[in-house]
Amino acid sequence: MPEADEPVDRELAERVEGAALEAATALGCARAEVRIERIRSQSLRLRDGRLEAAADDVELGVGVRVLFEGSLGFAATVAVSVDSAAALATGAVEAARVAAVASGRRVELADEASHGRVVWSSPFVTDPVEVALADKVARFESWSRRLLASPVVDHVTAGALAVSEEKRYADTAGTSAVQHRVRMHPVLEVMALARDGEGFETMRTLAPPVGRGWEYLDGDGWDWEGELDQLPDLLAAKAGAPSVTAGTYDLVVDPTNLWLTIHESIGHATELDRAMGYEAAYAGTSFATPDKLDRLRYGSPVMHVTGDRTTPHGLATVAVDDEGVEARSFDLVRDGILVGYQLDRSIAEVAGLGRSNGCAYADSPLHVPIQRMANVSLAPADGDGPTTEDLVGGVDDGIYVMGDKSWSIDMQRYNFQFTGQRFYKISGGRLAGQLRDVAYQATTTDFWGAMEAVGGRRTYLLGGAFNCGKGQPGQVAPVSHGCPSVLVRGVRILNTREESGR
């Protein structure tokens, strides 16, 4: 059996790692890395307080990446054994040889010192996959029943995904790491049918997915009781709200919505592999091309954005990445100007930037690491700064946006459209009830350029997602985004009913 917090029995793991790296070296590889991972997850979903599905899942495997004669090759298997380790090295070299047939560029990796042996765990109290399914079901049954008891609520869906990721990494440079991290994404959504029989409205909890254990549901990092208490009344207000009049409005955007706008319009746009065309066939490219570094005005002077893999409870937080690079924090946008990119080792080398900043990640032992998003966060104002109420107070005719819902952005990260969970009319500096059918649409640099003010630290929240997609074959990465409330002037608002031609 594996030791606590390690993917497989330590002695077996060390033999597999040794065999894979030795075989790769003997085959003439300039470099090799081996990852052994065990990813445990538990999902459950309830419909109207009744369990619809639950699953307990353990993914186990080993992957080897080699740099062989200027090409990268990767091979992976679920059979974690000394025999398969040697076959993996052979398979990875074969993949590099196949790639070399159509290689236009010799691959090199940016330098990184050996970090020796690294042992790291994300901060948590109770590993969420260790909590019995019955306890999990009971919690969501109870919360669902409480919501269903409201006369406003016709249906409730509820559920959670809990993940415990144990990852071993070893490379020919001498870095070896054992890392364990957990994450939780609980969600409840209430639904009310229109009383005239036409249509419905929903309202979802705004609690973000986080790098925390089961204690998250007991109130560590979020006030679940308070949010659940309010949800039916908020839904009732939304169901009775007027439909928005399309036009141009000033927006106060809450961090529960803004994190996703940051993710799409800054996070992906500042991935250097995208900006250099390496994702052109799938995820897309970026308007923020390398020739614009240190020159592009991304947004207003109050805009400061960092990438990091170090934030406590951040979903992209690690100690070393999947290429053996030490986690760190770095600037992406400073005073509104583009000043940096997210990097992995091969992109850092191609771009001549010297070092990677630690953004390599593979979502599975069976997938090759690629450049994935760090926790990309917008800094709040210094000191106590403005509160959300202060920002609302600066708007005469506008909309306050809370919670994410629908999202879409183009392949160069210019044109985006977002909806949300709640939209409040702002009239004369005060909230004046909810609105329905709202979407906001803008071009990235226009939107951030029109950001007049950022809220203070008390408005700051770490949001995020489990399901950031990138790469071919597709990989799914968890990532967090911290931000304050912000005030943005003059944003185009659509009425989604009118957009559908009704």
Binding site: A76, A79, A100, A102, M191, P473, R502
Partner: protein, 479 residues
């Protein structure tokens, strides 16, 4: 280099059929279902006229679904494991979860060999004990050789190519305590090619499904990409607004995925979908389009063959673990322009008084008798836009199935039946159900890979469509 190879990466894995038998022997309770999926992958990715991340993979997923009699019905426990599985552990985990769970709403007797015989299918496949069929990098040999030539031509012509070639072979073994022993081999493959001018201003895409890569030539896709880039040498800027569009089959595929995903019986009854009627009813039977479209799934569809029995590790609103092994047959979601079927598992179907209609892994939109290609529709267009791909498609409003997304990799201006240039990209807001209703013309259906959802819906056949008033909501400066 051979197209197939041994199973070096699977060294030490017990034969899949034995895993099924041993797990079923261990499982007690009210029954059990065991799924073993043995799969392998070969992939070559490329960008900027060079290969980038490439590799091979050997996977095994074992799912044990345990049923337990509990007060009020039957409860379910599901445990999934990868690799060389400790069967005692996985069976115990599934049984523990089943024993401590409430009764399942989708509880129903497991599918029996008799049920399958009644559907004209065997309860025990004769090849059940055969080993998995595996793929390897050899299957992509011709593609890689083709890419080497395409990269050289691209370099000479101020063009950069990016894309992906993937081949996946999955062998699924399904056994149940009710006596089923089923096996299915599913090949899935795709080739994507994107060409851009070196300055990034022009972009074009071509892609195809490739279950075995036979007859798939990089050069054929390259010709389509080069044609698109040449069309784009004349650039015309247009404002947002409603335009007549010719939507090619690949883009229609991405739109129809939205329609079939919304066709959930349970969710429609709850009032959550575009197919919901008032007071818990559905719109089954409602006319969706004046043109007599058929939207269907059929595991026997020629060229799009897919798993002919239900295999699901977890239940959903309208697919059930109790239905594992259920024979799948042609299902017409839309027939003669009317909503004809919604997805239901057997328990849900019985409650709704509707036929059971589980999900099936292919999709065909067809207008019976329609002829003609994209080119034919373009030739009959006085002024309009020819689209290439739709991208970043997301649901905005489920009540109307309003979707938003972008055009990508080529919007071409058609004037007098000819392509006269390329137009800027747009953000669009449209409901695919409304598009079927507003379509004025369709061509013949052809196999077509959706740019966005082809990753999950590889097996689709679609016609080109003409829509007279497609809603382009705003201009996207992206290229």
């Amino acid at each position: 280099m051979s197209g197939r190879r041994g199973d070096d990466l699977g060294a030490g894995l017990a034969p899949a059929d034995e895993v099924v038998e041993r797990a079923l022997e261990r499982a007690g309770g009210a029954g059990a279902v065991v799924l073993v999926e043995d799969s392998s992958d070969a992939e070559v990715r490329f960008a900027n006229n060079t290969t980038t991340t490439n590799g091979t993979r050997r996977d095994r997923r074992v799912t044990v679904i345990s049923l337990a009699p509990v007060a009020g019905g039957t409860a379910v426990g599901v445990a999934r494991r990868g690799g060389d599985v400790d069967l005692a552990e996985v069976v115990a985990a599934a049984e523990a979860d089943a024993a401590s769970s409430p009764p399942a709403d989708d509880g129903w007797p497991l599918v029996t060999p008799g049920d399958r015989a009644a559907a004209g299918r065997a309860g025990q496949d004769p090849d059940f004990a055969d080993p998995p069929v595996l793929t390897g990098l050899g299957v992509l040999h011709d593609v890689v050789a083709g890419l080497a030539g395409a990269f050289a031509r691209a370099e000479a012509a101020d063009r950069v190519l990016a894309g992906f070639a993937e081949h996946h072979l999955s062998t699924l073994y399904l056994g149940t305590s009710a006596g089923l022993r089923l096996r299915h081999v599913q090949p899935t493959g795709a080739l994507h090619l994107v060409g851009r001018s070196t300055d990034g201003a022009r972009s074009a895409w071509a892609g195809t499904g490739a279950p075995d890569f036979a007859g798939v030539a990089v050069e054929d896709l390259e010709r389509r990409v080069v044609r698109g880039l040449d069309w784009a040498r004349r650039r015309v800027d247009l404002d947002a607004g409603r335009y007549e569009v010719v939507i090619p089959p690949e883009a229609v595929a991405d739109l129809m995925v939205g329609v079939v995903e919304a066709a959930s019986g349970k969710e429609s009854e709850e009032g959550r979908t575009v197919f919901s009627g008032p007071d818990g009813s559905t719109r089954l039977g409602a006319e969706l389009s004046r043109l007599p479209f058929e939207l269907r799934s059929d595991p026997g569809e020629a060229g799009l063959e897919c798993t002919p029995f239900l295999a699901t590790p977890v239940s959903g609103p309208d697919d059930s673990v109790f239905d594992n092994g259920l024979a799948l047959a042609r299902t017409d979601w839309i027939e003669a322009g009317r909503l004809h079927r919604l997805r239901y598992h057997r328990a849900g179907a019985a409650a709704a008084g509707a036929p059971a209609a589980p999900p099936i892994d292919n999709l065909v939109l067809d207008l019976p008798g329609a002829q003609g290609s994209v080119e034919d529709l373009v030739a009959r267009t006085e002024r309009g836009l020819l689209l290439t791909c739709l991208w970043y498609i997301r649901e905005v409003d489920p009540q109307t199935l309003l979707l938003t997304g972008l055009t990508r990799d080529g919007v071409y201006l058609v004037e007098g039946g000819e392509i006269t240039g390329a137009v800027n990209n747009f953000r669009w807001n449209e409901s695919p159900v409304d598009l079927l209703g507003r379509a004025t013309e369709a061509g013949a259906s052809v196999r077509a890979l959706g740019r966005e959802f082809g990753e999950w819906y590889n097996r689709t056949a679609m016609p080109p469509l003409r829509v007279p008033d497609f809603n382009m909501s705003s201009v996207s400066p992206a290229s």
